[in-house]
């Protein structure tokens, strides 16, 4: 992955507040940029990514290298995390769970869309909603925490389905034939389901219109774990009349937020126990 990606979403680019030393804020911002699955950054890449001038970046890099938190990489032209970072661990703090990892990004998605956000994880042949933020506007439905949807119903589920291997998907269909209908628009035809899977795999997100809940438009995104599997999915939903027209326009912003989320969640493997069929 190239390091010269355009600017980060708001959570990561922190603007210095009053009474705070700006140079120090920039130093921490530069260091934080390395908290992703991108192995190294050059000055130009950092400058573009963080919206800082090259000289600001260079000053920050100098201090970080002095401190030992960054070192030059093997090529000599880029920088990578230094081993001294390993000192900054305390024996007490646990690994964040998925909800903690995703929380700041749920907020960003909510701010960008003004709609309801839901975090879902897989539970065998279903997904279960484990966190969310509700829209401030009128809500047509409530997907409460703990609700479950089968893997062929709702875009949040189908994101997870599409991430499985072809044989696992075939096995799911076999186990759940005939595919149950939840709304008039539910996918119940295996062929239609397969083309949805292919489309989802290609574009990296899934739309749903009244297929999990009637009158609701949604777009769902994958949350990647480190070994090529998914932690779960995130879905943005709203009443079709209000949300559907805005979807295409919002999509680039939402995708950018998801990209930042994923560069963080890719640092973690799916944690045990893993609820899969036969486990």
């Amino acid at each position: 992955m190239k390091d010269d990606e355009a600017g980060l979403s708001a959570e990561v680019s922190v603007r210095p507040g009053p009474g705070v030393n700006k140079a120090t804020v920039y130093i921490l911002q530069v260091l934080t940029a390395f908290a992703s699955d991108i192995p190294a950054f050059g000055v130009t890449g950092l400058s573009k990514r963080l919206g800082m001038t090259k000289s600001m970046v260079q000053r920050a890099l100098q201090t970080l290298v002095e401190q030992g938190y960054l070192v030059r990489d093997e090529t000599g032209s880029s920088y990578q995390l230094g081993l001294r970072v390993l000192e900054l661990q305390d024996p007490v703090t646990n690994d964040p769970d998925l909800r903690e990892l995703c929380a700041p990004f749920l907020r960003l998605l909510h701010e960008a869309s003004d709609e309801t956000i839901r975090l879902a994880v897989r539970a065998q042949d279903n997904i279960v909603i484990v966190d969310g933020i509700e829209s401030p506007g009128r809500v047509a439905y409530r997907a409460s925490l703990g609700s479950m949807y089968p893997l062929h119903v709702s875009p949040a589920s189908r994101i997870i389905l599409a991430s499985l291997s072809d044989s696992e998907i075939e096995a799911y269909i076999d186990r759940n034939t005939p595919l149950r209908r939840y709304t008039p628009s539910s996918i119940t035809d295996p062929d239609v389901l397969w083309s949805d899977v292919r489309l989802t795999r290609e574009q990296g997100y899934a739309f749903g219109f009244s297929d999990g809940n009637i009158g609701i438009a949604s777009v769902a995104f994958p949350i990647h774990a480190s070994e090529g599997d998914l932690h779960g999915s995130l879905v943005v939903s709203g009443p079709e009349a209000r949300f559907r027209p805005r979807l295409q326009l919002l999509l680039p912003d939402l995708l950018k937020i998801m990209k930042d989320l994923n560069s963080r969640t890719r640092l973690y493997a799916l944690s045990p126990p893993y609820f899969g069929p036969g486990c």
């Binding site: 922190v14 507040g17 009474g19 705070v20 030393n21 140079a23 120090t24 804020v25 130093i27 921490l28 911002q29 260091l31 934080t32 390395f34 908290a35 992703s36 699955d37 192995p39 000053r59 100098q62 201090t63 002095e66 401190q67 030992g68 938190y69 070192v71 990489d73 093997e74 990578q80 995390l81 081993l83 001294r84 970072v85 390993l86 000192e87 900054l88 661990q89 305390d90 024996p91 007490v92 703090t93 690994d95 964040p96 903690e100 480190s226 070994e227 963080r264 890719r266 640092l267 973690y268 493997a269 045990p272």
Partner: protein, 267 residues
């Protein structure tokens, strides 16, 4: 004091990192006056530094009291270091297979300088025992993984390690020796004094040149179960992993190979 010995460019930055290190080493969350006392910095400076650190989530304030502990960001940085080791992803399927076959929890520790760093784990069903955290760093002789590697250090490396100990850990320099060990043996076994029916086993992972770059560790297993067949099954997985590594040596080289071992000192 910055490790390079030069005058730091930015004094406030040094304060920030001194405070961050203090908070991370502390057994319990620290308040502003404690931090001020321990660092010798005025309270106002500490307040400003804490505000900056909190903003980027390097530290977090407790909900219940005006005391500070580490925030999530340092963890993400540690995790990002794991991801730099291609060996981590490559070894996970093998760790899982060993965990499945033996029922025990298996971890991978890579060599960084004169230390080992635990970067991957696969849980076994017998596991009621915590294998130690991912990210834990230990001096070679202070960890099972490290001890399994000491015997396989080249004589040059061993000399360098001894100098390193003299420079930085003078009271440890004579602690470890494993005179009875056969450097050709593909695994390293240790008994646990407090639990005679348990043993710990570590399998050094060698690169295409035969240098030990990491160790696969089963920290706690039933002695009666760990017979020759059990060891053979682990060794089968180890050999497959080593074959994989040998195919793409550059890919599986440590991303810190170019860093001089003696420059990395953990305090």
């Amino acid at each position: 004091m910055a490790p390079s010995g030069r005058t730091p460019v930015n004094a406030s930055a040094t304060h920030i990192f001194d405070i961050l290190r203090l908070v991370s080493k502390s057994d319990s969350p620290l308040g502003v006056s404690e931090i001020s006392r321990l660092t010798g910095l005025p309270v106002s400076t500490v307040h400003r530094a804490l505000a900056t650190l909190e903003q980027s989530q390097y530290i977090a304030r407790l909900e219940s009291a005006p005391r500070y502990k580490l925030g999530p960001t340092p963890q993400f940085l540690t995790r990002a270091i794991f991801q730099k080791f291609a060996l981590r992803s490559a070894s996970i399927p093998f760790l899982k297979r060993i965990a499945h076959e033996t029922g025990e929890t298996v971890t991978l520790c890579v060599r960084v300088g004169f230390y080992v760093l635990r970067i991957a784990v696969a849980y076994g069903r017998n596991d009621l025992y915590s294998p130690g955290r991912l990210g834990e760093v230990a001096l070679l002789q202070n960890s099972l993984a490290g001890r399994s590697l000491i015997n396989r250090l080249s004589s040059a490396d061993l000399e360098a390690y001894r100098s390193f100990l003299l420079d930085h850990y003078p009271d440890l320099a004579r602690c470890y020796s494993d005179k009875g060990a056969d450097p050709q043996c593909p695994y390293h076994r240790e008994s646990m004094a407090e639990q005679p029916d348990r043993i710990a086993v570590a399998f050094p992972v060698k690169d295409h040149l035969g240098s030990a770059i990491a160790s696969i560790v089963i920290a706690d297993a039933e002695r009666s179960k760990a017979n020759e067949q059990w060891i053979e099954r682990c060794l089968d997985q180890l050999r497959e992993l080593e074959a994989l590594i040998a195919c793409e040596p550059t890919k599986y080289r440590s991303p810190y190979t170019h860093i001089e071992s003696s420059t990395f000192v953990l305090k």
